[in-house]
């Protein structure tokens, strides 16, 4: 490679010239970049991408992957204009199709309290069953709670071997009022398409009666075929809290696939993951919809301080990292805390992760004593009425009033909530935080080992702008390093990125995001399912494993053969292209030229299949050779990268 052997200074000049057209109008002056300040292993970050690869790179890295036609519209709009719009999503109208698909997912728009009331947790149902809890006011929700409580009572009273302990037989007669005998027969034993049609035709006002006319096991079987609102009703009647969990994952998938604000969605994913909370931890499933909507989403282009504060005050984080239970230790000589698992005193979990993960970064110089002092500052930051869906509350009476020293700053005795706020201020503007966050962003959006020149410039932007995240993101996506060979195809897609990009590339129709989300679980990246506060890794090494690779190949093949539940691919769209030239079809799916090995594999597959295969498959609905070619393209090494 002659390019690599060029003296660095020439590369810098070449870079400046090549980058100029994109970065005109003073967006960035590449001449100031001292690429030679990077150690030699970063030389590929000084080699700028050709124009057409820049367009493809933009779609791969700043969206969830190109859809057919995206490349043309980007070319038409111009890279600079497109970037500007992605950085200001409020200037781009949202896709009406997305809004339509999100509409039935009602819990996404509810407050924590409303979520509890509409999708009552099992503890509430048990309480009502024992005659201890208050019934919800909404008559429909009250009916659900009463019904589930009644079932709970019956279940508790039943002996374990009673076959009828899980049925609602008393309501069964009503099914005849809603459906004809023929319809009932089809529903029980018909083809899935026919069942789907019957379910879709049940009028909304009859849905609840229909649900309660079925045994729980029958309801579960209909999850697959029911349209979204009915499926939610079915689920609500069995385990209401699962509706909340599913709405959330479905919403995330739908936004990633259909949103026009692609960069914003990527950043919401990035910052949620940075401030990760886990859906499976108790109350968190009720707290996360509000967390993402109010603490993360509005702040991805805001200042880091505002984002940090919003997470610090969020019930989801307070619960996940236990700070809601953290109270000042009792003064020396006082009675020991109550027995039966009550308040344990100071809890360091939030303090530690705040320093290690959220702000400064590991090994950035803070001590265990700093962790304790920070935890003391946040005593009393808790959740109002935790069992009943309350919001943030500062409880002064459990706050540690003593003097604290955090990273050398003295926080005088006698403070209140201001102690925690002061800690957040110190951390949000700390140079170590600026560097840590810049590095994390660059690792996710540029390369696992991003060049120091880029990270340092992002850090400078962060510090100069008071932690303005739009400006930091801007510095990154307008940097020559971002548009370099070093960044191109440098990242392995995570399973989430793979699934979404494959759905986009094939223009597939998501018939059930609920089922598609379950595929992600199989692929090892359940949405909102990362247990640890670290969030999911974006490092390539963490997503390349034997089982993972097989799963990816199997997913690619299953998708094009319409065997992935919840997605439909129109394989007929590929017929004529495949007949004309199979490689053209691969290009259509990949939006780039397939690699040599992929071309060879497709040619060989094409040659091995008799032509009659094509014709036959055109008539029946069997996906034939075109689907296989698309599947090979989606399972290829190059589609695993972006």
């Amino acid at each position: 490679m002659t390019r690599r052997s060029q003296p660095t200074i020439l590369i810098v000049i070449a870079l400046a010239l090549l980058v100029e057209p994109i970065f005109a109008a003073g967006l960035l002056n590449p001449k100031k970049i001292k690429a030679k300040s990077n150690p030699p292993q970063y030389v590929r970050f000084s080699q700028v991408l050709p124009q057409d690869e820049q367009l493809f790179h933009a779609l791969e890295r700043l969206t969830f992957g190109p859809k057919p036609g995206d490349l043309d519209s980007l070319q038409h709009l111009g890279l600079r204009n497109w970037l500007e719009l992605q950085l200001h999503p409020e200037r781009v109208p949202e896709n009406p199709e997305l809004q339509q698909r999100l509409a039935p997912l009602e819990s996404l728009r509810m407050s924590i309290r409303e979520t509890y009331v509409h999708y009552p947790p099992p503890q509430w149902i048990r309480a009502v069953a024992r005659g201890q809890g208050n019934l919800p006011e909404d008559p429909e929700v009250r009916a659900v709670v009463l019904h589930l409580a009644e079932r709970y009572v019956r279940k508790s009273a039943a002996t374990p071997n009673d076959p009828n302990d899980d049925s609602d037989l008393d309501l069964k007669a009503k099914l005849d009022d809603i459906l004809t005998p023929q319809q009932i027969a089809v529903l029980k034993a018909g083809a899935s398409e026919e069942r789907r049609r019957i379910l879709a035709a049940i009028p909304p006002q009859k849905q609840r009666d229909f649900v309660w006319a079925l045994r729980p096991a029958e309801r579960r079987q209909l999850f697959l075929a029911a349209p979204v609102p009915l499926r939610r009703e079915l689920m609500l009647s069995i385990n209401p809290q699962n509706v909340v969990a599913n709405d959330l994952s479905e919403g995330k998938l739908l936004r990633a696939i259909y949103s026009n604000h692609q960069l914003e969605e990527l950043l919401v994913d990035f910052w949620f993951n940075h401030f990760n909370v886990f859906q499976g931890k108790g109350a968190d499933r009720y707290l996360i919809p509000t967390y993402e909507r109010e603490a993360i989403r509005p702040h991805v282009f805001d200042t880091f301080y505002n984002l940090l504060l919003a997470t610090a005050e969020s019930p989801a984080m307070l619960f996940y990292l236990d700070n809601w239970q953290s109270v000042a230790p009792p003064p020396a000589g006082a009675a020991a805390p109550g027995k039966r698992g009550g308040k344990h005193g100071l809890n360091e979990n939030y303090g530690r992760e705040l320093l290690e993960l959220h702000t400064l970064g590991v090994n950035s110089g803070y001590t265990q004593q700093d962790v304790i002092e920070v935890a003391r500052c946040f005593t009393g930051w808790t959740i109002a009425n935790q069992q009943k869906g309350g919001g943030f509350e500062y409880k002064d009476k459990v706050h540690d009033k003593g003097q604290k020293t955090v990273l050398g700053h003295i926080i005088p005795a006698g403070g209140g909530m201001s102690d925690g706020l002061e800690v957040l201020q110190i951390l949000a503007h700390h140079p170590a935080t600026a560097h840590h966050l810049s590095l994390q962003l660059a690792r996710r959006f540029v390369a696992d080992d991003p060049p120091p020149s880029l990270v340092n410039r992002m850090t400078q932007t962060f510090l100069k702008s008071g932690g303005d995240l739009r400006q930091v993101t801007q510095t990154m996506v307008r940097s020559p390093e971002f548009w370099s060979q070093g960044a191109y195809e440098a990242k392995i897609k995570t399973p989430f990125e793979l699934v979404v990009s494959a759905v986009r590339a094939t223009n597939a129709d998501v018939t059930s995001a609920f089922l598609l989300a379950r595929e992600l679980q199989k692929l090892g990246e359940p949405l909102y399912g990362k247990v640890e506060p670290t969030g999911y890794s974006s490092a390539n090494a963490d997503w390349v494993s034997s089982a993972g690779l097989l799963d990816r190949m199997n997913f690619a093949l299953a998708l094009v053969h319409n065997c992935v539940p919840g997605v439909t691919v129109n394989t007929a769209q590929w017929q004529s292209t495949a007949e004309e030239d199979p490689l053209k079809l691969a290009r259509l799916v990949l939006q780039q030229n397939p690699s040599g090995p992929t071309q060879a594999a497709i040619r060989k597959t094409f040659a091995a299949q008799p032509q009659v295969d094509l014709a036959r498959n055109a008539k029946d609905t069997q996906p034939g050779l075109p689907a296989l070619i698309a599947g090979l393209a989606l399972g290829s090494p190059e589609f695993q990268r972006h």
Binding site: S156, E353, N540, V544, S545, P597, T605
Partner: protein, 411 residues
């Protein structure tokens, strides 16, 4: 028993010829068949949901056990199958675990009592996390103790560390390669014609990262598939129960017998969170009894199937915490503290209850309600890691834990 050389000859892998076979495999082929050369194998089983250890190994010598559990206590041994099976005059097995009694009698099965975590949490989520990471109280540990326990190898077998689960569990995550296989039969490219195409595509790819992993993957697939295609009859008339644990152990047994280089395996089984109706009409029936029957039968079948090979194998069971000593108002128990572990296999000092029994008198209970922890779960695991896996770097496997106090569950 089929020798490993014969197995490989019969497998499709043998066709590629030893010269081009992966390093781990040629090592496996040329290894002698003597027991000294065989890898020792550690299998850990996680009972998710916090099993009620006091109704698994019954402290029938404790009057408080009976006074605190009037409705759910397993009766004192009386020779009937409605009562505990006596072990040593003080403890007894739940009657549903009768198939484990012969293993106790022949010294293969040891019990460790009052084991648990120094962390006080009663959250399933936190406690499982801590037990799998091996770092109680520390949430940010990114890897698991079972992964850290693997000794670094230059050419590790891709089937060296396997979890019988759809996702890789916390305990096996980390820098050493580990594989999650929900079911051995699923470990393949499902479209046979595309499988070969993908193999060539990845094998000739210039993407060094994906190329390397794909080679390993397709090797492992062939090994697993040849294993799946061969009919399997468990030895010595062993019958695995149909539940999740039995089927997981059956697949582990197949891998062990096929000498695929397995060193550690993990399986989990849920359903133990018995807040309501832990027992049925009578204390020895109901939910827990059903789960325990499956559990005991699965372990017994595995041991029977393995026969002499159990000398190389150690199985350890664990659960995130125990349950309240006192029964609750729903014929169940709530989240508690210490629990019981089983250790099964070769060189286990079996036929005895290890650990220190803290007692069930009110003043002996943890926070007035739970069995006290007298043995840190890491003590037991550290001993397995040192003596069975030959890894003495306990400070790496269990950071912050002083592993010097082995309780002697292994000889």
């Amino acid at each position: 028993m089929l020798s490993r050389r014969l197995f490989l000859k019969n497998s499709s892998l043998a066709m590629v010829g030893i010269g081009s076979a992966p390093a781990w495999l040629s090592r496996a082929v040329y290894a002698k068949d003597g027991p000294g050369e065989r890898k020792r194998i550690l299998i850990t089983i996680f009972q998710r949901g916090a099993v009620d250890g006091l109704n698994v190994v019954i402290p029938h010598g404790e009057p408080n056990y009976y006074s605190l559990r009037p409705g759910i206590a397993i009766p004192r041994p009386d020779g009937t199958d409605a009562a505990a099976i006596d072990l040593d005059g003080h403890f007894g097995l739940h009657p549903a675990l009768h198939s484990l009694k012969p293993l106790w009698d022949n010294g293969q099965l040891a019990i460790v009592e009052a084991v648990g975590s120094p962390d006080p949490t009663r959250s399933h989520f936190d406690a499982q996390d801590y037990m799998e990471s091996g770092t109680p109280g520390l949430k940010a540990t990114y890897d698991g103790w079972l992964n850290r326990a693997l000794v670094e190898e230059r050419f590790p077998s891709p089937l060296r560390a396997v979890s019988l689960s759809p996702d890789l569990p916390r305990t096996l995550r980390g820098t050493n390669k580990a594989l999650a296989v929900g079911n051995l039969n699923d470990f393949q490219v499902k479209d046979a014609s595309a499988a070969g195409t993908f193999e060539t595509m990845y094998g000739t790819s210039t993407d060094t990262v994906l190329n390397g992993t794909a080679r390993e993957t397709f090797e492992a697939v062939k090994t697993v598939q040849s294993l799946c295609n061969a009919p399997y009859t468990p030895a010595n008339g062993a019958k695995y129960p149909g539940g999740r644990l039995g089927q997981s152990l059956l697949q582990i047994a197949r891998m062990i017998k096929a000498n695929v280089g397995l060193e550690v395996a993990f399986a989990d089984v849920g359903g133990w969170d018995t807040h309501v109706n832990e027992v049925g009409g009578q204390p020895h029936t109901g939910q827990l009894a059903n789960l325990l029957r499956d559990f005991g039968d699965a372990l017994a079948a595995f041991s029977q199937d393995m026969g002499d090979r159990m000398a190389d194998i150690t199985v350890a069971t664990m659960s995130e915490f125990g349950r309240t000593v006192k029964e609750n108002g729903n014929r169940g128990t709530d989240h508690g503290h210490a629990n019981v572990m089983f250790v099964l296999g070769g060189s286990v000092r079996g036929g005895r209850v290890h650990g220190q029994w803290p007692g069930l008198a009110p003043e002996q209970l943890y926070e007035g309600r739970d069995l006290n922890v007298t043995t840190d779960f890491r003590s037991v695991l550290a001993e397995l890691v040192m003596k069975r896996m030959g890894n003495r770097e306990i400070a790496t496997v269990f950071p912050g834990f002083d592993g010097s106090r082995a309780i002697g569950v292994l000889a």
